[in-house]
Symmetry: C2
Amino acid sequence: MSDLVRPNVSHPDSEWEASLLTSILNIVHAPYGDFTAIADLATASSDPETLDLLVTKLAHHPQGKTAFEQRPRLGTIDLHQLKNLPDGTLGQRYAAHMLQNQLKPLEVSPADSDATFFGTHITETHDLWHVVTGCDTTMLGELQLQAFCVAQLEVSRFWLALLTKNLLKSAVYDIQSATQYMDAIAKGWLMGRTAKPLFGTPWPTLWETPLDQVRAALNVVVP
Amino acid sequence: MSDLVRPNVSHPDSEWEASLLTSILNIVHAPYGDFTAIADLATASSDPETLDLLVTKLAHHPQGKTAFEQRPRLGTIDLHQLKNLPDGTLGQRYAAHMLQNQLKPLEVSPADSDATFFGTHITETHDLWHVVTGCDTTMLGELQLQAFCVAQLEVSRFWLALLTKNLLKSAVYDIQSATQYMDAIAKGWLMGRTAKPLFGTPWPTLWETPLDQVRAALNVVVP
């Protein structure tokens, strides 16, 4: 019961800390999938100092370093063309995921700095992370992927805030889902800690590679 | 990025849901170990309906059923006497934990209903849960135990709220601790899912049993 931990530290909220807390609360009240609330959270959780730290950490890995140097983009995607690739290839599985869930590749702004490239790359490759990790788009799949992202990105306020928001909703509105939520989080967390970094993967070179091979190369273990 | 999940459900906050959210926010702003904020959270998170569900779930297990029938209390504890038990016994390890951390056995109200017995038993045996799980009283030890409690109690708004509050603090104020926090949570969660129920364990009969044997009997695997 204690929660007795550190010397007492008072937190005089800076403006952005207060606005991040407000965004998390707003998203607790927003319906699931409210893109405006998510976009507000993304903005509120992007302080320059943490973004710099994120970039530095990701660039420690050679693949991340190359990605920041070359800023590769996913490019225009023709889902109907990818759908016709052989069964089980990354491209075919990605197209099937997108079409089944009625998703379109996200259009994001050009990347003219490391920080904007980070955001752009994570946004436009997000659905690929779903496919590679085997996380579906149910609440539990999203939670698993959120924990995977926290594990892979290490210092992402956005993904931790999103995960926390969902636990907060469970504690207040839906306690009977707690076990399922926590199971999904633990699963995604362990998967993300075990996998090699997905950030900076040259996805467009892998469309024709079997998904199993892509997972094995990234050490993503999908039961 | 999607967080697209369920049909949109709006949550017209009931009074207690709103007060639980407020308590969680208050505790985000409170220093660690602020007992008033924790007590407020305990009150706000104790709705009768969920307490009933908790009791029902715990009573499914024979040990839990017996505990609700007999409402055993820990009784008066003499830490200096327990300290002199043979090294490695539960009593000796419990006394060492309490004395090292300058903790006193918590005094709690008598239990005259299943719901109050639940609160009383969890409160007065909490330090024993620390000892049996090997969770120390650092932030990471507390987090690990919070996740263990969420796993064991299944529908405890209080423990999930406490865990969530700590993740919220990390997202807003201390993102560099996220990995350590999540590691601790995953560890406690898996431990709590694997262990037999600790609730209702007749602790006073086990003071002279070696801690290793107690852990083995409860299937608590401490690395």
